[in-house]
Symmetry: C2
Subunit: 370 residues, 2 copies
């Protein structure tokens, strides 16, 4: 079995920990951020760009790969790693989040989720078993169970019945596994109800999963609830397995979540914001569309050593963005991902040097001026 997880060092002041995940495609030092490769590509990035900024592991979207180009093509061509030219680890989601986002286009039953493709309207059924098979075909290093990401707000009754189904699906998923060389993570749901989170965690941690995710957070519940429920859920998860906070989030959320004991993260924020002209910098968020940058010769983030900041000015990036040039998306994505990865590295170093409590990480959420 290729997969393992070791806690290398525990922070003395919080639940933060430095860890190491070993996979067939290499190691991941945690806490780690996973850029999102929605359609077998992290938007505007090539694999070598990702390696350059220190990316250790990607998230690949099962739903999108399933619909286009299709799992069979990827399997025939040697799996997702080879298909997209990425040699390091890949975590694949279950497709559940995307399917549940389809709203009226999907229907949940005990068997699974029936949905219509957002591309051509064709009908599909994703079951827990099918989702296991798909991820095995993709050759993912870490596969996720099919779950329901419960919308917020949801009633206690709905949340409980959905959470119990997610548990039953997790049990079915384990039985469906044909390969055991990769890791398999379960997802704790339970909405905003602590007792349901507890029940779900107790059931799932009684099953032999290699890691556990907290799902259904960052779905509009607000920062206070996200943090309260995120921290509560982290405390329910085994200390000797990786903990993955799904879909979160902003830089300041990552600092919080590392403190709460999470090890893995994914979010489209750095890549999506880049395409919209918003940069994460040491001085806060920077909206490159602002007129004040029109002739600003400084790099976007003066403390950043990425290719974008070493070579280009705010004025140039603003021009590229205004002109609709592809290079705008490329350079700003490169910077935002470099920012996220440097943040994670500084968090790991702080834990390693036992300075986590004292570190400020200088995360500013407000939009910065010049």
């Amino acid at each position: 079995m290729a997969f393992s997880f070791t806690v290398v060092k525990k922070d003395s002041s919080s639940a933060a920990r430095l860890g190491r995940i070993v996979t067939a495609h290499g190691d991941v030092e945690t806490p780690a951020f996973m850029p999102v490769g929605t359609q077998a590509s992290v938007k505007a990035m090539s694999p070598r760009d990702l390696e350059e900024i220190g990316c250790q592991i990607l998230l690949g979207n099962t739903y999108h790969a399933y619909l286009r180009p299709g799992i069979e093509v990827i399997r025939e061509l040697g799996g997702l790693h080879r298909f997209m030219g990425w040699k390091k680890p890949i975590l694949t989601d279950s497709g559940g989040y995307q399917v549940f986002s389809l709203g009226a286009l999907r229907k949940i039953t005990e068997e699974g989720v029936q949905f219509q493709s957002h591309l051509d309207g064709s009908s599909h059924l994703l079951t827990p078993e099918k989702v296991v098979e798909i991820q095995e075909d993709l050759g993912s290093d870490i596969a996720m169970v099919l779950d329901e990401c419960i919308p917020h707000p949801s009633s206690r009754d709905y949340t409980r019945s959905s959470t119990l189904r997610t548990i039953r699906w997790a049990e079915r998923s384990l039985k469906a596994r044909a390969k055991t060389d990769g890791a398999f993570f379960a997802i704790v749901q339970g909405g905003m109800y602590e007792d349901l989170r507890l029940e779900c965690a107790r059931e799932l941690t009684g099953l032999p999963f290699d890691g556990y995710a907290a799902g259904g957070l960052g779905v509009g519940e607000g920062e206070a609830s996200l943090r309260a429920m995120g921290e509560f859920t982290a405390g329910l998860l085994p200390k000797d397995r990786p903990r993955y906070l799904m879909g979160v989030g902003r830089p300041e959320d990552l600092v919080f979540a590392v403190r709460a004991g999470y090890d893995l993260f994914d979010c489209v924020l750095p890549t999506r914001n880049a395409r919209n002209g918003t940069l994460f910098t040491a001085a806060g968020k920077m909206n490159i569309r602002r007129a004040e940058y029109a002739s600003d010769g400084r790099p976007p983030d003066e403390s950043c050593a990425c290719y974008c900041c070493r070579n280009f000015s705010r004025a140039y990036l603003r021009h590229l963005h205004q002109a609709g040039e592809i290079l705008a998306a490329h350079l700003m994505t490169l910077h935002n991902l470099a920012f996220y990865h440097r943040l994670m590295e500084s968090l790991r170093n702080a834990i390693r040097e036992d300075k986590f409590q004292d570190s400020e990480f200088r995360i500013q959420n407000s939009e910065s001026g010049s």
Copy 2:
């Protein structure tokens, strides 16, 4: 004076020659192809991508830079090289081609061209003098005179009066120069009329320009006329100055034009085709959208060593293109430009080794199957 041009070797079988252009931003070994940086960016390429595939010199569009972000911004930020992060030579066009393409939005007088911006409808006047000043502000290594790119077909009367005006504009342009550290090229017009080409070339070569371009070709006159008039015009130009065939063209056109004695080329074909899903390969053009490539694991061009061909399959590129991923444009542009630059390198090597006549260059224009 930083600029110089030396013919290093003449081909014994044709007018082809190996040359060296020296500029303040480095040398260019000719014959050379110049990728087009329309809006201060070669679409989907970063400067390091261009360096990687062997790009020696870029073409920058004066018209686009003038309208957005504006010449003043670029000048204040240290010129076009610094603005776009490109350290090697840049040739800037005069903006004339773009202005004349505006059709009803422009009006030509003896003074210059009055036109309305395609961006916001604002009115502008480009004169020969203004165009010199703009290119000096941009800091281009090779500037071009304002000329009229005569539409095809045009009457002999119109062609003659336009060509005579282009000559008068060239005389005014020379007088307007304030800096002489860069090079200044004139453009031979004359439409499809040999005697007008001859008259134009005779007048312009009597003036102290550093190089000469053939303009008004590749504008719909067809391959036979392009070749006949291109070769005729090349023969009218001084042997000791660089000859630039503007806006041409296809790989097979470049082979022809090098044989005819041209040294510099620019064309949007490799970059535009890439974004449309068409790749230039040793086996001919490849339309990556074709269904036959859906599960084709081979690299786009099996004889190519570019980053795209070393790492990605036809199936992956097709998927990226179908999915509208930015990476599709990036990887295919990188390959097409690598193909063009490798072609130019092979042409230079053939001249150097006196094998130009024997070389086939394997240019196929037909669309290739698998």
